[in-house]
């Protein structure tokens, strides 16, 4: 259906490393404005799926569509330029650079001035102003000039989201946005996700079920590289198969 429309679609996406299959003919649609959660037990292939979609991994077979166009062969940077953006499960920032510069580097690339070797970075005023706008939107402005290493982990996760927003995504993949964040700080992340611009299609991988059921409009359950079931949160919560492989697993 969304193979022709806006958003992301995978068609029979497969990836295997020898005998190990991490993606088994996955058909998945993410429409514009969606708030979709991808859940599943450890080793289900969630992060591999994100890596396939963003181009870190090459699929063994199958196709990837973004806004109706085939992007299967596009390198990572080209996908980013088309609005397909991710965050990382383990915070991946320029740790010794300040918060403002982490965001400014992303904006410089998006505005196409990242390769300018004549003008000092500080003279690209439009880049810096826009970076600061993003920081203000996520309430990060007071830490603008502090290096990442000095921030609490929850705030680092916020910078991670800020960098991805700086790229003006149409499809945003959040790989465990609240992983490792203490409960006292995770509310900040939930609120940030809820405040994301409505037209962005958001897919998030998360283990924190409270977060999943609070934000997601749809949920896909992945088990051993295959889609077990997809549906509304209430249906997923009630599905006996999900309880068995996923929720049940946590109860012992």
């Amino acid at each position: 259906m969304s193979e022709t429309g806006k958003g992301l679609a995978t068609v029979d996406l497969c990836k295997s490393f020898g005998a190990l299959s991490v993606a088994n003919s996955i058909n998945f649609n993410l429409d514009a404005g969606a708030r979709h959660a991808l859940i599943g037990p450890n080793g289900a292939g969630k992060t591999s799926f994100v890596n396939l979609v963003t181009g870190v991994l090459r699929p063994t077979s199958g196709r990837l569509m973004l806004d109706g166009q085939d992007i299967t062969a596009l390198p990572q940077a080209q996908r980013v330029k088309r609005g397909l953006v991710r965050t990382f499960q383990i915070t991946a920032l320029f740790r010794r650079l300040c918060v403002l510069e982490n965001v400014a580097l992303a904006i410089a690339e998006r505005q196409g001035v990242g390769g300018d070797f004549l003008r000092p970075a500080g003279r690209h005023r439009a880049v810096i102003e826009e970076a600061y706008d993003v920081l203000e939107m996520l309430d990060l402005a007071r830490d603008a000039l502090r290096p990442i290493t000095e921030l609490a982990y929850g705030r680092q996760r916020m910078v991670e989201i800020a960098v991805s927003l700086a790229l003006k995504p149409s499809v945003l993949l959040l790989d465990e946005p609240a992983a490792g964040v203490p409960p006292s700080e995770s509310i900040m992340i939930v609120e940030a996700i809820e405040r994301l611009p409505a037209d962005i299609a958001v897919l998030f991988i998360e283990h924190d079920m409270e977060l999943v059921f609070r934000v997601a409009q749809r949920i896909t359950v992945l088990v051993q590289g295959s889609v077990l079931v997809e549906g509304k949160p209430a249906d997923i919560a009630a599905d006996p198969r999900v309880r068995q492989v996923y929720l049940g697993e946590r109860k012992h």
Binding site: G115, A121, P147
Partner: protein, 334 residues
């Protein structure tokens, strides 16, 4: 509420002003040049050594661009130094002794080698990259060795004849001209390098060094950026090699050997990596120490160099420059 809002705007303006001013020249940056001119008057008998130090600073500065900024680890940087030296040398030995154009041709030749070899070796990283850079330099070394007819092989390139610079400044036996020639070239190259480092391109290199995966994820053409800085750095290294060739009027196989690449690395580590000024501290320190140690203890001077290096790596993290920075309490973000 109004008050709070205006405070926020003040903070914003202050933050942006501070962030935007980071490329501005600081007074401290005049220090190396003042010292270099002072050295001319204080040590008139050491100008030949001084010229060598200045050219070596340029070589190590070029290494800092790839290693310190882009995080490209190389043990083959002498390849570019050597190509520049042999190009400038062969021009002068074959009837074209004009120094400035010879230097430029040397730089261009080195850049070409950097571009071609970089396009191949920069596909790898880590230890593989280290070995590949080593191999490029080793191949060029053997090439220079075998091409005896053009390079003089193991005997070295003889018969270079340098014309006066701009037809006016003759290379004198005391090294006056050589010293100022090297100083001016170093200054121009430093100015170019400084500009590159502070540009958006330069900052994206720092991003590549800090987290290459993230650079891919924000859509930066990482491979192209690395190749560009590698080529630029090769050009500067080639100019440094040309300077040494022209001012000593001799080129030996030593310009291409592993020891030269390794020594540049050591000098950079002593001074401080990724700071733009590590070369200005590390090179004089190393070369003067070498000169002194060799005089005091001719048999074991290399041991003392080694011991000093161990001391620096263990106790002076970030090199001498890192310690100076910490003493002045400046600059947390690289």
């Amino acid at each position: 509420m109004m008050q709070e809002h205006s405070t926020e705007r003040l903070v914003r303006a202050a933050h942006i002003a501070e962030f935007s001013a980071r490329h501005r020249l600081r007074w401290l940056e005049a220090l190396p040049w003042v010292a270099a001119i002072a050295a001319y008057f204080v040590f008139p008998n050491y100008l030949a050594l001084g010229a060598q130090i200045l050219a070596t600073i340029l070589f190590v500065l070029s290494l800092d661009l790839v290693l310190g900024y882009a995080g490209i680890v190389t043990l083959g940087h002498a390849a570019f130094f050597g190509v520049g030296a042999y190009t400038a040398g062969m021009l002068a030995a074959n009837g074209w002794g004009e120094p400035v154009s010879g230097l430029l041709v040397g730089g261009v030749a080195a850049a070409a080698v950097g571009l071609v070899s970089g396009a191949i070796v920069l596909r790898t990283s880590g230890l593989t990259l280290l070995m590949q850079t080593l191999v490029v330099a080793a191949m060029l070394y053997e090439l220079a060795n075998k091409a005896h007819r053009f390079t003089g092989g193991a005997d070295g390139l003889q018969g270079m004849e340098m014309w006066p610079i701009f037809g006016t400044f003759r290379f004198d036996m005391f090294g006056n001209t050589a010293y100022f020639y090297c100083l001016v070239v170093l200054f121009l190259c430093w100015a170019a390098a400084r500009n590159v480092v502070h540009s958006s391109f330069g900052r994206s290199l720092t991003g590549i060094r800090e987290n290459v995966g993230r650079m891919h994820a924000i859509g930066a053409p990482v491979a192209r950026r690395k190749l560009l800085i590698y080529t630029f750095s090769a050009a500067l290294a080639g100019i440094a090699g040309g300077l040494i060739a022209q001012t000593t009027q001799f080129v030996g196989l030593g310009v291409l050997n592993l020891e030269r690449s390794g020594m540049a690395l050591i000098m950079l580590i002593i001074g401080g990596v990724g700071q733009l000024y590590g070369a200005f501290i590390g090179v004089p320190l190393y070369m003067i120490a070498q000169d002194r140690f060799a005089e005091v203890d001719p048999a074991y001077w290399y041991f003392w160099i080694g011991l000093s290096l161990v001391f620096i790596v263990v106790f002076l993290r970030g090199g001498v420059f890192g310690v100076v920075e910490r003493l002045f309490g400046r600059g947390k973000s690289p």
